[in-house]
Symmetry: none
Subunit: 254 residues, 2 copies
């Protein structure tokens, strides 16, 4: 993970247009802050502003609501922006670029890096954005949902866009194979483990019948080398084998 806090001035503004339920405003604030986004704007909230239900639902993200800009209309909310995306659930038949959230957030990152100011419009719960809101946007963001069931709610749409913002701006390794400080075994250690097992299994009569012994040994070598064993794992396997031999009482390998 890159840095904890981004400079909010270099983030897109998420603009909630005529939101209805305070709960959804609060949930949207949480969704944004989950991914480090801080700049919320609210246009004509149905139940006034500030909104108690929103504050209650935002919990740890309440700061976003305190600092949110309140606007009377969409043109006012996006007046300072150089590029605006409108989120829609379905095609509106407008002649405008339609992009995925991933693409939009990559573009937003690049536009902001070049000095631009970007806003994303999110429509009210039931109906979504009006055509005239969409007409004010430069491009449309559409989440590729199941066409049989396109039922994302406001906070979910905000969540996916915020998630994509973080993905676009953080050079996160996809797999933290690090497994935090794990020391993987060296090939020499794996070979020694293979030797140990082969020797003891040989004594125990495992490689039988004789004409199959070579193939069995090769398979076993192959098995060990295919496993992503840590040093601790190798020690565990040595320990198990030593204990079985000790138990057998045939030998004390100390």
């Amino acid at each position: 993970m890159q840095e904890t806090a981004q400079d909010p001035a270099r983030q897109p503004a998420f603009v909630l247009v005529r939101p209805q339920m305070g709960e959804n405003i609060g949930a949207s604030a949480r969704a944004m802050w989950n991914f480090g986004l801080e700049r919320m704007r609210v246009v004509g909230p149905r139940d006034g502003w500030p909104n108690e239900r929103a504050v209650a639902l935002a919990s740890g993200a309440g700061r976003l609501l305190d600092r949110a800009g309140l606007f009377g209309d969409v043109p006012g909310a996006i007046a300072d922006c150089t590029y605006v995306y409108a989120t829609t659930a379905r095609e509106r038949g407008m002649t405008k670029p339609v992009v995925t959230p991933e693409r939009a957030m990559i573009e937003a990152r690049d536009r902001i890096a070049a000095g631009g100011r970007v806003a994303i419009l999110f429509g009210p719960e039931r109906a979504g954005l009006e055509n005239e809101d969409i007409a004010r946007a430069n491009a449309v963001v559409s989440v590729p949902v199941n066409p049989e069931f396109p039922s994302l709610n406001l906070a979910q749409c905000v969540l996916l866009c915020a998630y994509e913002w973080r993905r676009a701006t953080e050079a996160a390794p996809q797999a933290v194979m690090a497994m935090a400080r794990t020391e993987f075994a060296t090939t020499a250690e794996i070979a020694a483990l293979g030797d140990h097992f082969e020797e003891r299994l040989e004594e125990a009569g495992f490689f039988f019948p004789e004409e199959k012994a070579e193939g069995m040994k090769r398979n076993l070598r192959n098995l060990w080398s295919r496993m992503p064993l840590t040093r601790a794992d190798v020690q565990s396997f040595h320990g198990m084998m030593r204990q079985m031999v000790r138990w057998a009482g045939r030998r004390d390998p100390s």
Copy 2:
């Protein structure tokens, strides 16, 4: 967009482990179906099953609840699976690969294309998955959230994974797994292998001193579940252990 409906048999199972609120189960069903996923499994839901609140909240996705598998415990829910991911909010200090949702769903797609069966575990609302649930998984999925505010809820975590599944499966698979025809062992087979070793090692006095026995056993479980074992590998390990016991002459496990 590829096709509308995927073959559900070729989708990962989303396993809700001990979910508490019916609302969240319903919202999770909606989140899955938004992205075309149908295979839900539920382990020990707090308020019984079926759950009225879940059905009410699922609305158009109610079908997923009707068809959801109900299980008493995690091993039962993943018994038929060959690869299991556990979602966690924070590092648990376990030696396991940690991947992003994107990476996990790309891997899941490729594993399923190669004949595997994949499950994703989601923990209960408050506490998340228990360490012993995580120990049964092959890898951990961690959403790269704002470290100052990692507050994703159950349905949001399901939503992000389902979204990444759709992203991963809309495009052509980027890589077909090298071990295409390999038959990986199921978690039930791995669990049986773990039981076999634990039993015999117990008899052999491996878990010593007693106050460390529990931790040693957990580490060993964790080791087995972390290895990409094939069915043939599992048979090899059973065979080695049987032979050591036979050699010890203490018992003939036939």
